[in-house]
């Protein structure tokens, strides 16, 4: 088993670190957090340095990259302290690359490569969270047009993005997973209202309620096949879970390093607190968890590259990474004591931000649901 990186991966990571050091300092990230702003300048820099072309085919101006490389970059951006700094938008773009029309591919890729946010993912509804079959947003055909009605919630980046990738449901079809359709809709159309929701973390990405009130769209906004929306969505879910876990890995590593440095220098009772075994126990457990997350994340990425079906691996990886990652952040905060709670300490932001990963992208419970059901099935 070879755990080493290729020259190309190592060089790309070095380059990426150079870019992060230049364009994404801790003070920049802290300012985004404080002012609730997206990382626009950093995204532009990513695009100028060619990082927004990674991971999709050359015929669309991209540079192909394997899953492990993309996961390593997501980890690195997160290690810098930035939440969702790399990977998220790329995954969304892949939905369009797989199922979109030529026109949709061109539009979305041009926006993404220019460092802009192409679209938000509009799936969750007030009545349909973990259970997306409960969705009630509809698309009705009338006079050569399609009319969208309904509402979505917790939609990340809806205000910023030019488009929304909206999932609708045909309520007359009794098989919910064969009754959903996907639409790429401009967000400035009449009838669309976006209402931001205040939250306590991920301040560099707003999330919103989005209301569709008799929104008239062209039938060409359909992505892929009608009623195939759910299956299309599922295609990239597995990879998304691995990328979320990779981001957690980077931020957990950052939290661990901050805590270890603090433990080595903060003195109480005449000695560094790191000399106390209770603190060493925390640091050791954190280090073990970090290695476990790393192994799960890298192995999942390796499986994707090897063309192996992930089955439940992506859910296991997300479940473990987000739980253990948050435990690492929590222990790190504990090691900091009072100073860790202040806004100036990076750990306070990491702790807040890392908590959300146990909900967004599928909750812990839903991951367990997926894995547990499969285990019982396999042995049944």
């Amino acid at each position: 088993m070879d755990f080493s990186l290729t020259d190309e991966q190592q060089l790309l990571l070095d380059s990426f670190q150079e870019l992060l050091d230049r364009e994404c300092s801790e003070s920049y990230i802290a300012e985004l957090d404080r002012t609730h702003q997206p990382a626009t300048a950093f995204n532009k820099a990513l695009s100028e340095a060619g990082f927004s072309s990674l991971g999709f085919p050359e015929e669309y101006g991209g540079t192909p990259a394997d899953a492990l490389t993309l996961v390593l970059l997501a980890e690195k951006a997160a290690h810098q302290g930035l939440t969702n700094g790399f990977g998220g938008a790329l995954l969304q773009v892949r939905d369009i690359l797989m199922f979109g029309s030529e026109e949709q591919k061109k539009t979305v890729l041009a926006l993404y490569q220019a460092g802009e946010s192409p679209f938000s993912l509009c799936i969750t509804e007030p009545g349909a969270g973990s259970d997306d079959a409960g969705m009630t947003t509809t698309a009705t055909r009338a006079d050569g047009k399609v009319i969208i009605n309904g509402s979505k919630t917790f939609i990340t980046g809806a205000q910023e993005a030019k488009y929304g990738l909206v999932l609708t449901r045909d309520l007359e079809n009794p098989h919910p997973h064969r009754a959903m359709s996907m639409w790429l809709i401009p967000m400035d159309l009449p009838g669309i209202t976006i209402h931001p929701l205040e939250k306590f973390a991920w301040n560099n990405e707003e999330f919103n309620e989005v209301f569709f009130d008799h929104v008239e769209v062209d039938p060409s906004t359909l992505v892929g096949e009608e009623n195939n929306g759910f299956l299309q969505l599922m295609k990239n879910f597995e990879f998304e879970r691995v990328v979320i876990a990779a981001s957690v890995l980077g931020q957990a590593q950052a939290a661990f390093e901050d805590a270890a440095r603090h433990a080595a220098t903060r003195k109480q009772f005449g000695q560094p607190i790191g000399d106390f075994q209770l603190i060493q126990l925390k640091l050791t457990n954190m280090a073990v968890k970090l290695e476990n997350i790393r192994n799960l994340v890298y192995k999942s990425a390796w499986m994707i590259d090897a063309g192996q079906p992930l089955k439940t691996m992506a859910s296991m990886t997300k479940l473990y990474a987000t739980q253990a990652g948050f435990e690492i952040a929590d222990d790190a905060l504990q090691i900091f004591g009072g100073i860790g709670v202040t806004a100036d300490a990076r750990i306070s932001r990491l702790w807040r931000d890392m908590r959300l990963n146990r909900i967004g992208g599928g909750t812990d419970e839903m991951m367990i649901h997926t894995v547990g059901r499969q285990i019982v099935k396999d042995f049944g």
Binding site: D7, E8, L11, D14, S15, G50, F51, L54, T63
Partner: protein, 257 residues
């Protein structure tokens, strides 16, 4: 036209470890292209888009002879790479390095312009560029903030204390550029993949003729870290004007201004 860029492959000073006795260890350091030479590579690459090819030259012991070194240098723009790999260059001083590099430039032939960084990240002796020019018998300038090629000569701006000198120098010429002469690119995947396909030649000192291999002019007796003066950790509060006034006052008090 051929432009050569001298690049040093050296340990990252951020990774150096200082022992309790002041000893300095680079054992756990990551190696990369000297930061200042990245600037020279960028200047060369932007000039070459107008006029010709860029050849990077790296010299050192067998430690530099890796695919990582090659791809790292070549991903930053040059068209090809010449490596002088010879274990006689272990702990080379400026004289030895300059001889080896000048030998390589002579062997490349028809070089019009040699560029290098202000100094190296690890030693920062600021000698090699000047000594290479001297060995080649070319005009040599340091502190060069910008370069424009004008046919058979080049126009350079030098920053000297508070003034900027503009000079016209006939080619061939050797120039050491300032750290801010250009913002080095961050190579992307495309440049990194392309780097693996660019040509590299490896020469030993013996391939370069006798003048390239010279003895060290000096011997390092010891290297220890300087002891740091204690920081006063004074925080000046109030408006920026008040804080600035307090700072100047404190510096005066310490006879520092």
């Amino acid at each position: 036209m051929t432009i050569t860029v001298l690049c040093k492959w050296c340990p990252d000073t951020e990774d150096l470890e200082v022992g309790s006795d002041g000893s300095i260890s680079f054992e756990r350091a990551k190696w990369s292209i000297s930061e200042y030479d990245r600037v020279a590579l960028e200047v060369a690459t932007s000039l070459a888009t107008e006029v010709g090819e860029v050849v990077a030259v790296v010299a050192g012991t067998s430690i530099i002879d890796t695919s990582m070194t090659r791809k790292s240098v070549l991903s930053r723009g040059p068209d090809r790479l010449v490596m002088v790999v010879d274990d006689r260059l272990a702990e080379a001083d400026a004289r030895q390095s300059a001889s080896a590099l000048a030998g390589a430039i002579a062997r490349i032939g028809d070089v019009d312009l040699v560029l290098c960084g202000a100094g190296s990240t690890d030693l920062f002796a600021q000698q090699v560029g000047i000594q290479v020019g001297e060995r080649l018998g070319w005009p040599t300038l340091n502190e060069v903030a910008s370069v424009h090629l004008t046919g058979s000569s080049c126009r350079v701006e030098r920053r000297v204390v508070d003034e900027i000198d503009t000079l016209e120098v006939a080619l061939p010429v050797a120039l050491a550029v300032t750290a801010d002469a250009a913002l080095p690119r961050v190579p992307g995947m495309r440049e990194i993949l392309a780097a693996g396909k660019k040509p590299t030649v490896v020469w030993s000192l013996d391939d370069l003729g006798p003048p390239a291999a010279v003895d060290r002019a000096s011997q390092v007796v010891s290297t220890v870290a300087r002891s740091h003066s204690t920081r006063l950790q004074v925080l000046f509060e109030g408006s920026p004007t008040e804080a600035a006034a307090q700072l100047v006052g404190a510096l005066r008090h310490e006879s520092l201004v």
